[in-house]
C-alpha cells in the first residue's frame, strides 16, 4: 500500500468523545421548551462542535424526551444554542417533572458522544 493512503487514513481516524470534555453548558426554560447553550471549552474546538453537534444528532440524542430541536450559532461566544421543544412536559407550573424548568438538560446534552480526531481526543479526554 502506498504510504500516502495510510497517512490519509491516519488523519481521518477519530474517536468518540463525550461532549463534557469539549464543552460546558447552561440550560433554562422558555415555556414548554428547554434551551441549552453549549460553549466550547477551547475556542479552537468550536468548529468541531458546529460540524458534529448537529440539530439531527441532538434530536436523536434526546429521542423520546423532546419533540423537535432548533439550533443557532453564536461564533462570537464559541457557543451553540439549542431549543428543545416539548422537553418540559407542559413546562412551568403545569409540569410534574423534577426538572420542570429544564435546568439540567445542559448536563444531559454533555453526555452525547461525537467523533473527534484522535490527535485532539488524546489532548482532551482521559482513557484508552
Amino acid at each position: 500500500m502506498p504510504r500516502k493512503t495510510v497517512k490519509r487514513q491516519a488523519v481521518k481516524a477519530t474517536r468518540m468523545v463525550q461532549l463534557r470534555y469539549l464543552a460546558h453548558a447552561r440550560s433554562g426554560d422558555k415555556g414548554d421548551s428547554a434551551n441549552v447553550g453549549l460553549i466550547a471549552l477551547d475556542p479552537a474546538h468550536y468548529p468541531l462542535l458546529v460540524k458534529e453537534v448537529t440539530r439531527a444528532r441532538v434530536q436523536r440524542h434526546f429521542h423520546g424526551m423532546v419533540r423537535e430541536v432548533d439550533r443557532f450559532e453564536l461564533p462570537n461566544l464559541n457557543a451553540l444554542n439549542f431549543l428543545l421543544h416539548g422537553a418540559l412536559d407542559g413546562g412551568g407550573t403545569i409540569s410534574l417533572k423534577t426538572d420542570a424548568q429544564g435546568k439540567v438538560y445542559s448536563t444531559a446534552l454533555l453526555r452525547m458522544q461525537i467523533p473527534v480526531p484522535v490527535a485532539v481526543a488524546r489532548l482532551i479526554s482521559p482513557g484508552k
Binding site: H24, R26, S27, K30, M65, F72, N81, T93, L96, A108
Partner: protein, 458 residues
Amino acid sequence: MTDRIVRVAAGQGFWGDWPEAPVRQVQGGPIDYLMMDYLAEVTMSIMQKQKARDPTLGYARDFVPLMERILPDIVRRGIRVTSNAGGVNPRACAEAVREVARRLGLSAKLRIALVTGDDLLPRIDELLAKGHPLTDMDTGRPLSDIREKVLSANAYLGMAPMVEALRQGAQVVITGRVTDTGLTLGPLFHEFGWSPEDWDKVAAGTVAGHIIECGAQSSGGNLLRDWRKVKGLENPGFPIVEASADGSFVVTKHPGTGGVVNLASVTEQLVYEMGDPNTYITPDGIADFTSIQLRAAGKDRVRVSGIRGRPRTDMLKVSIAYFYGYKAVGTLVYSWPEAYDKAKAADRILRARLKDLGLKFEQILTEYVGVDATHGALAGPPSPDIPEVQLRIGVRARAKAPVERFTREIAPLVLTGPPSVTGFAGGRPEVQEVVAYWPALIDRREVEPHVAVEVLDA
C-alpha cells in the same frame, strides 16, 4: 464626561434570592444603582391572589424589610434603587417603603416613585371586545377559551417610565411588570441621555441587564465550567455593571467577595434562557446576541462591547396567568438491596390502586430519583447495588377530588407495599393549585397611554 462610569449592581435575581446580597452590594464598594428583579412568569398571579384577599398586599413583601436595612446607607450615599417588587400593587409597595422611611426619619430625603399601567386585568373584556384576541403565542388558542379562568394579565413595560421617574428625581422606583432588563436600561438611558431610538445602545443596555438580572448566576453561582475552582461562595459577590457612555461595559463584582467573573461565567449567563440569539426581543428594542464581544479585562473583570440592535416592534408581550387545576407530588425512599425494583413495584401497586378507585388524572408521572429524574433514559440502567432510590410520583387533574384522594394513597404504601421503605416523615403530600402561563402580544398603543409615573409625597 465621556469617561464617566455608571455602576449598576444586581441585588436580587428572583423573589426569594439571597437576602444578604443587596446589603453587601450597598456596603461592599461604590455603586450608583441597585437593581432588584423579583418577577418570574407566574409570580404575578400569586400576588394577584394575595391582593384579592387583602387590598394592601400583592407585592414582594420581603422588599420592605430589605429596604429598611439599606435605606440609611442609600440615602447617605445617594444610591438609587430600581425594582419591579411592586408586583400587582406597586402603590402599596411604595407606601410601605415610605412608611419605613418615615420611621427611620428619612422620608424628607427620599423621593419614592411608582409606575403603573402594566395591569391589564381590569381591561381584558374591553381589549377582547376591541378585537385583540390575546392569542397564546405557544399554542395559538384565543384567550376567549379560558377567559373566565384568568387570574392576572400584565403587559411587559420597557424602560420609558423608569427613565421618567429618575428624571423626576426619584431615588427609589417601584414598578409592576417592567422587564427585568428595563431595570438596568432605565438607569443607563437616564444617566447617559441616550436616545431611546439609538438601537445599539438599547441592545447594549439589554445585554447588560440580561447578564446581571439573575444575580450571582453570572458571577460564579451555578457555574459549570471548573466549578471546583470557584471559591468563596459562602459570600458570593453579586454582579455589577460598570457602564460607559459609548455603550460598552465591564462586568465585575466587589473586591473581597467570593465567586468569579470571567469569560465562562458571563458566557454561561448570556446563553441562559435564550431563544434565537439574533433576535432577543424586549419592549425597548431587539438585541443581537451574536454581536456581543467579550474580553478578559483583569481579575473578575470582563469587558463587553460591540453590541448591535434593531428597532423595537409595535407589540408588547403580555403575561397572563390562569387557573388550570390541581397537582400533587408524593415521594418514598426505598433502600438496598434491590432498591430500584422495590420502588418500581410500589409504583405498579399505587397505579393499580388509583385505577381501582376510578380516579381520573390528566397525567401521572413517575420518576426514580437516583436513577432517571434528571437525565431520563440517557442515564442508563442504575447499578444493581444502588444504595437507595426515591420513588417520586406526581399527578395532575382539572378537578381537586382525585388529586386530594391521591395524597392519601402514599403513606399506606409503607405498610402495604414493598419492604425497606422510609422517608415519609413529611406526611401527606400537599394539594397544589396549578396556575398556568399564557403568553400573548398586544399593540403597544393600547397600553402605553395608560402608563403613569407618580412620585409619592414625603
